[in-house]
Amino acid sequence: MSRTRRLKLRVFRTAVFLVLGAFFLVPIGAMFEFSTRGNGVTAPRTLDAWTAIAKVPDLLPAISVSLQLAAITAVAMLVLLLPTMVWVRLRLPGLSRIVEFICLLPLTVPAIALVVGMVPLYRWIGPNLSDSILTLSFAYLILVLPYTYRTLDAGLAAIDLKTLSEAARSLGAGWGTVMLRVVVPNMSSAILNACLLAVALVLGEFTFANLLAFENLQVAILYVGLVSAGTSIAVAVASLLFAFVLLMILSFVGRPRERVAREEPTGIPGPFGPPAVPQGL
């Protein structure tokens, strides 16, 4: 590649990065600017709206339940979807189209229609099982299915699942061992991406919770906004930053680390493994 071409490419990349950065940061910056305005046109900047966040009584519980919902949904999604998809790929390939159709179906149904359909279900769940907000994870599981299915499907397609699982079976592995020691480590990127999507979707979810009369983080922000617009915007910015930081942490903690041999009886230095290949996203 010539030097001029390299330079052009670098300029192009920088321009794209700056435009996209502005696209995301300008609205957040504007929200931050709004949340720090004082009362009156000439009033000085103030962090009153931000300091008020800690004083909003229902906010911390709402953050807590949103996090719990995100965790429950992500775990339930993995427990339900991953073994099902592996089993369908290995034993019931004829069902793969049907499973795909079912998993992608929620994408085509508007959230409001889904909620309307679920109202009778939750009317029954409330008095008969539990009225806890954590029951929302049933609904969220359906909400995240299309996105997580696609991600996990891409991860499964990237490995020779049949051969690897048969090799493990021939070596004495039961199905649980095959899942935990062969399938999961070889598609850890896809699993992590699916979890990140589930967490992001649940943390930002408003319609289901509001229409089913539960108070999660987004609903709590709405209520705060009814009392104080500045505090509401401050909470929104804080929740965005919080979600961003959380996803960054999950991403860095969960990525497969460089693979270095653990057993080195020959004294030969272990070379690094392959770079993690992002899958699905």
Binding site: E166, S170, L171, G172, N186, P271
Partner: protein, 366 residues
Amino acid sequence: MSDATTRRDGARGVEVRLEDLRRAYAATTALDGLTLTMSPGEMVALLGPSGCGKTTALRLVAGLEEADSGRVVIGGNDVTNLGANKREIGMVFQAYSLFPHMTAMNNVAFGMQLHKVGAAERRKRAGEMLELVGLSAHANKYAHQLSGGQQQRVALARALAIKPKVLLLDEPLSALDAKVRSRLRDEIRRVQLEVGTTTLFVTHDQEEALAIADRVGVMNKGRLEQLGPPTTIYSRPATPFVAEFVGLTNRLAGVVKSGEVEVRGARLPLVKPDTTDGPALALVRPEAVSVIADGDMSPGPLVGSVISTVFLGATSRVTVDLGDITVLAQMPTSNVGAITAGTRVRLSLRTDPVLVAQDDKAPTGA
């Protein structure tokens, strides 16, 4: 072929019996009553075209598929209803099957860990196994850092590390290039003789099967057509299918009479002397056909013109047009001399016993 008697002392093979195994997929019968007994420490190669049922047979032994009927008996124990993980088998697959997230050493140690072998013993034995396949120096490499041949050798070490009762090889060389194939083929045989594990080797490559197996089973349409030592399979094929599948064959029209077949003026003994008299196709190997380029070339049933000569290394293959059919002859390259396309030649058929096909309507020729 290597001799199974060179196996080292203390070999630990067990007898393996497949009894009337049947398996069908919808309307297709993949395996139609396969019965086969493998002696302890023996290597049997199942050879056949795609779809003949050889891989199905291997997968039934492995427990990766369930038989519709029949039994698999390993070391005297009926394992027909046992899962693959409980059959104590080692398997090397056609596709590269190393776990990508583990080093070669950890791949080899994986099975032992599942069999509750202690960490020290595990490490020691994994090291020995890698040494056995000549890959000690690559113990800490991942699959993507190894060549195809190296990956298959690690897979072999991994399969043997758990001290399996049976070793199953499912076309392990088919993804490799010719040179690596040949080298690894010999290495697999060396290792198998050294450890003495009863081995079932599935391949569609006749050269591979004939080169390393103690016995070769030729399969066709789910049935075992013939089982025997490689030399018998090649020189005394039991059926026309075996004769044509294993090696090249000339199909020459002739007449069976009194335990012999008369082909273009030559009388050849029969593999099966009790064959019914009448018209038949004699299946004659190219190496049983000699090409004579001097002497009397007056017209006759075995006189014709050379169409082509193909150099194969130590031997050459000569295609001769006899007017109504073409015949293949294989001879030492040193004897080819001035035989080139267009040369007038006379053929001579060696009086080896031949097999005949009597109900075959296929056209004659090479």
